[in-house]
C-alpha cells in the first residue's frame, strides 16, 4: 500500500521515536549521576516523595491527547527502568 500522507506521518513518527530514545537515555544519564551522589551519601535510591512530585508535574503540564492516567503509567515504567539502572551501577560499585 502506498499513501503519501501516511508515509510522511510515519517518517515523522520515526523521527519522534528517535527523539524519545535520545531523551529517555539522557534521563538515564541524569538518573545515574543522581544515583552516584545518593550512593556516596548513603541515601536510599527510591524516593516516593520525589516520584509523587514528578507525577504531579505531569498532571499539571499534560494537555493531551493522552490522559493523565496513561501518562502516569508510562512514566512509572520509565522511573522503574531508571531505578534499575541505579541499582545495577550500585552493584558494579560494590564489585570494584
Amino acid at each position: 500500500m502506498n499513501h503519501p500522507e501516511l508515509n510522511a506521518l510515519r517518517t515523522e513518527l520515526d523521527e519522534v521515536n528517535k527523539e524519545l530514545l535520545s531523551l529517555i537515555n539522557k534521563r538515564g544519564e541524569l538518573v545515574q549521576q543522581i544515583g552516584k551522589i545518593k550512593s556516596a551519601q548513603g541515601i536510599k535510591k527510591y524516593d516516593p516523595v520525589r516520584e509523587r512530585h514528578m507525577l504531579d508535574l505531569i498532571s499539571t503540564e499534560n494537555d493531551g491527547p493522552f490522559d493523565t492516567s496513561t501518562l502516569h503509567h508510562l512514566f512509572k515504567e520509565i522511573f522503574k527502568a531508571g531505578l534499575e539502572l541505579q541499582e545495577d551501577d550500585h552493584k558494579k560499585e560494590l564489585l570494584v
Copy 2:
C-alpha cells in the same frame, strides 16, 4: 537534606520529564492522524511490520545507558498507549 548538585540534577530531570511528556503527546497526535487515515481506508490499526521496524530503529540508534531490551519494553508500552488512543477515536467516530 540540601545538596546543591543533587538539587541541580533534579531540576534538570524535571525539565527532561516535561520534554518527554510533550514528545509523548506529540507522538500521540501523530498516531491519531495515522489512525484517521487508516480508518478512512479500512486498514487495521495494529501493524506488526511497522512495530518491528520501529523496534529495529531503536536497536540501531541506541547508545545507552539503557540496554535495548529495557527500551523495547518502554516503547512497547508507548505503542500500546498509542493504539488505545486510535481505538478510542475510532469508537467516537462510530458514535457520531
